[in-house]
Assembly symmetry: C2
């Protein structure tokens, strides 16, 4: 990638922020140490060095052995439903649960660097409050009573530094709170960590100038995906039972896929985005969403139901639509269109294998009818036009808002940031041009409804062109961003397939378009793909449904994984 | 108003379109003549000259006497429910109903010039088809079986010239159909006319370069409002039983108010906008809506229920939200905040009198609690800022899309068009500036929810700063556009008050801001308001409710008009 200097970067300015960065990181370390100094020492002694984690394909979940048996059982074996039931029955307290998850979160942090800010004292106080409530009232506060939830850091947390990974915001302390946090708290959740996102919140990777790079729990030298990669690493490490991420181009789904867990990108305006920090202010061409990541689809379902039906986000946020999380409505035979390849960027062999194996299993099951979308999907030329329009919409303000958030700190721009800034040319468009792109988007949204969803119930496709990506190499967003552009809901789910360096070594027939070249080739024209690089990287698939039929996408995912034999992670 | 030349205007180019205009208008006359030559001659002989209608305060509804008793009974006395029931019971046929409404529409056209295009042959054929269906199947096609609906012309009608009043589109024949038309047809509606809208569809008046000016049925020298002024004139003249208009700044509500009927501006995305012609393509800062105008609130209610619950617009249009038109949910005591004056433009005396009289009646009724919003409403300074932002959002593309639609014909720009083009400065803003205005809008939307709708059920306010306006003088949009900006639903309804040239002659205490000056003063500083000008002009009020609670706004309007004794018009 050509290095290009943007006006934001200014080493002299940035150096003045370095003490703030140090203080911010020190605070996280201090909280871990203070919580349980002996445990912390044991972790440090056991978990390999940063250098080793960064260069070896280490499965960091092994370090959960640092927990006691009781702690391990809480974070590994109990679902949200189990945890709440056991509290109600007096078998567990919120305090015990919270402490177990704090320990797991410390392990997660030391192995994957997924945390930006710990909230340990707050979590302990909250757990005590919940225990007292239960004792006095003989009932739970709500369906997430004592459930330990991690939060993507860019959601405003009242009274706490909120940076969204912008160095310039290291002294930003919001006096309001993300509506999602308010709702989750009302439902009984305990918050112990705020997790990392990449610079500008616009990489399918997680790397920023405050806390550095987050690692993939399944293979620490790989990326956990992004931008909700702090969340995915945390949840996959069992550091929290569920986490709230956000997605404007794949930022829930890529991390869920890269870490072999579940994630949902709901239809927009069902979950509140209110009170958060990002560059998305007033941008309506591609609307961001928040949504959960978890180790099972049942827990995603329960969370969405509780958040929407009991949380009623529209009572806090006038941009949310008052529709309940309803019972699903699946046909007796589920009709799934399969997109093996989007006709723009050929997936890596492990992905093609995963989708073929999945389709083979579903095809044998009488509950599914499978239709190959290859003959009817948009052509390479059409996809080129669609994806370029998609990218232009991300950068059509000429990155002016992003630059206004980077410039005050002079922070260096990371390679994936520079990559993002050049999306679609990265030029400042006129409002007229923006509107014409919106109109193109709307026409496409209609075409997809008429051409596919009139016949099909769901579309099954890759979540990403490869298994978990090499850090800094998540270049192509198309498999996920296509659905952000059009705002159809989807779920990413594991299919029990991981990259295999032998099986997945072959190079498929490749196309010649610019995006294929970007993903598959080096600048000198050699193929870049090296099966060695992806050791330990899982593959996940993506199921997309009709707009506002998020419930059905979740329900169909349950049916699919039941056929595949995919268990809670 | 200073005359300013915009590049769109080109007399030489325009002259080439004049034959198209003549042919277009001739077709409407020919349809009227051919339908019933004798009736047409009788109408021409009875209805005064255009000049007389334009200069005198004539109540054009008197010309309905040109109908036979049976025809008069159909168009004057029967509701949608009556019409469908009588067809089912064999007392009336769709053909008889349709013919009666065609005659009333001809009277409406000759008195108010509300029609752009007649669809008389299509309406007669459709009526016959419906009658045959009923005969064969012993049931109605749907809840609008045989109900004669007029359509604002900018909705695409397959195979028919569709201009949206842009001269350049006089040969535009769409090959698709507005989703709303598809839905209404499915419900059983008969379409006999497509009604006028102003140039650019952006006046609160109805005046264009194809069909000229539309008159107010209640006082023909006044404006019927706009931009759905063809609809309001048609419905108020009993030329159709209900009409579909659209609203981006007051375009359903101002015309409903000016003609003393009912109109609803629903929350966006409940009624489909798909397949129509306007300058709104891809514009998302202030989103347009379609909605009905009718002579009673019960008919608006029935129409919305049928359109949404049976029409299911989301199955055609992925931008529509799948929420049913539900049963209303009103509290035992309805809490209404009253905004007598928006603190920016002082209403004319008739409006102030209307709202005071209304509040006096409601205050005596135990079903209502009335709160004066004067002390808590936004200050004059805040409103100046809000309204200027609101106006900027209308023109922030520097009117580029509008100009691209006017320029090919070189059509002259009418005074209210030039007025509109200068809204908020009329300058081309950057995407960044557009987003910052969107963010300001979102903050305000939240503030209105938190500050007002947390306590109140509804807000009652003027629909417009005056009674029905003088043609070309509808300058201030604030009373309606405030709610388009924030997307809260409202209903405009009559309150049995009309301007009185003696009672409403006094000049209230006035403010000094630019919008107050624009409305109240001549350029030389004299007060412009002349009570003589508004003879025959009714006043209507506007009730606003919580987002997506359109059903409750309709239900509360029923309660209010029952107290006021407002009957079907």
């Amino acid at each position: 990638m050509t290095q290009q200097k943007f006006p934001a970067q200014d080493a002299a300015k940035f150096s003045k922020f370095e003490p703030l960065i140090e203080a911010y990181k020190k605070e996280a370390v201090a909280q871990m140490q203070q919580f349980d100094p002996a445990f912390y020492e044991k972790c440090i002694a056991t978990i390999p060095s940063e250098n080793e984690l960064d260069t070896e394909p280490i499965d960091a979940r092994q370090f959960l052995k640092l927990l006691s048996d009781e702690e391990a059982s809480i974070v590994n074996d109990l679902t949200i439903a189990d945890l709440t039931r056991k509290q109600l029955e007096g078998e567990l307290t919120a305090a015990v649960i919270t402490k177990a998850f704090i320990k797991a979160a410390i392990i997660a942090q030391l192995a994957t660097n997924c945390v930006m800010q710990f909230l340990i004292p707050e979590a302990l106080a909250r757990a005590q409050e919940l225990d007292e409530y239960l004792k006095e009232n003989k009932k739970l506060v709500g369906p997430l009573h004592g459930v330990v939830v991690s939060l993507k850091e860019h959601m405003n947390f009242k009274g706490k530094i909120t940076t969204a990974s912008y160095v310039a915001y290291l002294e930003n302390v919001p006096d309001n709170e993300a509506v999602s946090i308010t709702i989750l708290r009302k439902l009984g959740a305990v918050f112990h960590t705020r997790t990392a996102q990449p610079q500008g919140i616009m990489h399918l990777d997680t790397w920023n100038n405050i806390t550095g790079r987050t690692r993939n729990p399944l293979s620490t030298r790989l990326s956990p995906g992004g931008s909700s990669g702090g969340e995915s690493a945390m949840v996959a490490m069992h550091g929290s039972i569920i986490g709230q991420g956000s997605d404007i181009g794949g930022s829930i789904r890529a991390p869920a896929a890269f870490t072999d867990i579940f994630g949902i990108r709901p239809t927009t305006k069902r979950i509140s985005l209110l009170n958060g920090l990002s560059s998305g202010k007033g941008q309506e061409s591609i609307v961001a969403v928040q949504g959960p990541l978890a180790r099972s689809i049942d827990e995603l379902d329960a969370y969405m139901r509780a958040y929407i039906n009991e949380g009623q986000p529209w009572t806090y946020d006038p941009n949310c639509i008052p529709i309940a999380w309803r019972e699903p409505n699946l046909p007796p035979k589920i009709k799934i269109g399969v997109l093996y390849d989007d006709n723009l960027v050929t997936p890596f062999p492990a992905v093609t294998r995963a989708i073929r194996e999945t389709v083979a299993k579903l095809s044998k099951n009488p509950g599914f009818e499978i239709i190959n979308l290859k003959p009817s999907w948009f052509s390479e030329e059409e996809m080129l036009d669609i994806y370029t329009a998609n990218l232009k919409l991300y950068t059509c303000d000429g990155n002016e808002i992003q630059l206004s958030m980077w410039t005050p700190s002079g922070e260096p721009l990371l390679p994936l940031t520079e990559h993002y800034m050049k999306f679609g040319g990265g030029k400042k468009l006129s409002i007229y041009e923006n509107r014409m792109l919106n109109a193109q988007r709307d026409a496409l949204k209609l075409q997809v409804q008429q051409k596919y969803f009139s016949e099909l119930d769901f579309i099954l496709s890759p979540t990403y062109n490869g298994p978990s990506e090499i850090p800094g190499e998540s270049l192509y967003w198309g498999y996920t961003s296509f659905w952000n552009l059009l705002d159809y809901p989807n779920v990413t789910f594991p299919v029990n397939v991981a990259h295999d360096k032998e099986t997945d070594a072959g190079i498929p027939e490749l196309k010649k378009n610019e995006y294929e070249k970007m993903v598959w080739y080096k600048e000198n024209g050699d193929v870049k793909y090296d099966p060695q690089s992806y050791i330990g990287g899982p593959v996940a698939l993506q199921l997309t449904g009709k707009r506002f039929c998020d419930e059905d996408v979740v329900a169909a995912t349950k049916e699919i994984i039941s056929v595949l034999g995919v268990e809670r992670r």
